[in-house]
Subunit: 335 residues, 2 copies
């Protein structure tokens, strides 16, 4: 055990893309714990598009990370020392633990102890069996709620949330079209994940491809992206369609809010229900939903892929992979 | 009774605003009715923003009116001659009867016979006790569903639908802010209609006025307008807010779809539910809802205003009053 706790602190708010100047590496002594605290040694840090929103000046669904504060992120650490019941030494704990090598949990800044099941990699609890799986389930099962034979479109379908959402829709009996960037991701979607079609948003004829893949229109949009991709989907929505508004990643690096969808009027004409949602509101269901998803994984009906980046120091560059489409499935950093 | 049936036929699709060249006046013999038909002499024709959508080339929730076809509109006529049970002579009938002096109803093109109650002008059944009242009720009571003390904003609040929707929200116990054009309409909203505040969208400091009128943000948006007005409202939505998407009148005369709302991302951050709806889907509830609204009118809790234009020949110019904000309350043409 080192005596140093490396941490990435927010140095300045990015106006667009995250730059080397956005964070500064700080070396501090590993914190001493007091009564009611436990020290975690971090093992995995989750990278998620929503992290980018947390470092803007504007409050969103959480207050902005303050300048000089450790970068906020979900992660998993193992209890290294404990002076608090409920966090036994050696236990795996998940929480908003931040970009640091050691984190302290307490009643004021709690984490939750996770099961360790044989054959399930720890990182899975950050992805399909964690927040991403819950996000996918709430958006697809509860909001999109596709009926058998309906057409579902999932944007960012090769991402951590989208890949799970798309497979849930397949399990629910829908015809599922994934939108992703590049032929490799598209091949994964129609191959291992078993989607009915995949459309490459980088293709010059993206709109024509989407139309060809959705000959009967679109009943459910699981929306992760926004911008031009969402606009193309909105233009093809069917009567009584549903939009599970999960993310708008295409705009997260933008200095100004991107233009809203030109096809917005179609939400009126088609009597569409659009529901924005944030997974934090649904965390009380994580146990129930993880069990369902783990069951589908065990049956081979739900496939999982991770992009694992090695090394704490990679965090500030690895996060941009989300915006470059450089990851397939869940993106995590292993310490 | 004249032998001539004057009708306005669609001559060409307008690219923007309705022009004198959009319709042509056709004089035809009053139709002879066959078995199973009844002849109506029109008394009132309803003018509604949605009429404008029906003459675009693009199908919406109804097929476009064809070139050479009589302009589609809801209206009320009195049975002049009948060879069909259910339409007794002298009865008042409402339906999609079109811009014409005489209309024929049958099983294939039905209308419905309306009650005639003392003290209730016939035109009321086109407005507050007809489709507009039902539109307002579904959007506010069922979709917006404000809780006591919540803040509700209604755009086009001095219009036929908005004025009813705003008053329903007051009856439901909400703090209600109406958006309308000009001081006279605003005075009507806070005066006779009893709204808590009114904001003039034509004022140069419209956004500041809206902010001042909604210090606790906006819980329910009853959206009739779209464009910049909707954008300003979206930017102030609260967590778990609802948008009843009823109309987007600001774009109906536009040649290109107007830009979508820049504040679209707020629907995600605030976990907003947005529901587009079209009153046609809810017509089976007209009896139940009209009874509720008539009760509130009788109690003096629901006020009604109409702008009545005299003369069939005024139809093609009167319809533009909707887009110029020239009417207060329901706009009808009396024949």
């Amino acid at each position: 055990m080192s005596n140093t706790n490396r941490r990435f602190l927010l140095r300045e708010r990015p106006t667009g893309r995250i730059e080397p100047s956005t964070f500064e590496l700080s070396e501090e002594p590993v914190p001493e714990i007091g009564d009611g605290e436990a020290l975690l040694r971090m093992e995995y840090i989750s990278l998620d598009p929503t992290n980018r929103m947390w470092i803007n000046e504007t409050p969103t669904y959480l207050p902005p990370v303050a300048i000089g504060e450790v970068m906020r992120a979900v992660g998993i650490g193992r209890v290294d020392a404990s002076r608090q019941e409920g966090y036994p030494e050696g236990a795996l704990v998940q929480g908003l633990l931040g970009w640091q090598e050691y984190a302290v949990v307490s009643d004021a800044m709690p984490g939750f102890v996770m099961p360790e099941a044989e054959g399930i990699p720890v990182s899975t609890y950050l992805g399909v069996l964690g927040q991403n799986g819950l996000t996918a389930y709430v958006g697809m099962h509860d909001i999109g709620a596709p009926k058998e034979g309906e057409t579902v479109v999932v944007s960012a379908a090769a991402g951590a949330v989208g890949s799970v959402a798309a497979q849930i829709a397949k399990i629910m009996g829908a015809r599922v079209v994934g939108i992703a960037g590049g032929p490799e991701k598209c091949a994964w979607l129609t191959g291992e994940l078993g989607l009915d079609a995949a459309v490459d948003y980088k293709a010059p004829d993206f709109r024509a491809q989407l139309a060809a893949a959705t000959p009967d229109g679109i009943d459910v949009d699981f929306e992760n992206v926004g911008g031009e991709i969402m606009d193309a989907v909105f233009a093809r929505l069917n009567v009584h369609s549903r939009v599970a508004l999960c993310g708008l990643i295409s705009g997260y690096n933008a200095e100004e809010p991107p233009p809203g969808p030109r096809a917005f009027g179609n939400l009126l004409i088609q009597r569409t229900k659009l529901q924005g949602y944030i997974v934090l509101d649904h965390f009380h269901r994580i146990g129930e939903v993880s069990e369902i998803l783990a069951g589908w994984m065990a049956e081979g009906r739900l496939h999982n892929r991770e992009t694992v980046v090695e090394g704490f120091e990679q965090l500030p560059t690895a996060i941009n992979m989300l915006f470059d489409g450089a990851n397939t499935g869940k993106l995590v950093v292993r310490l």
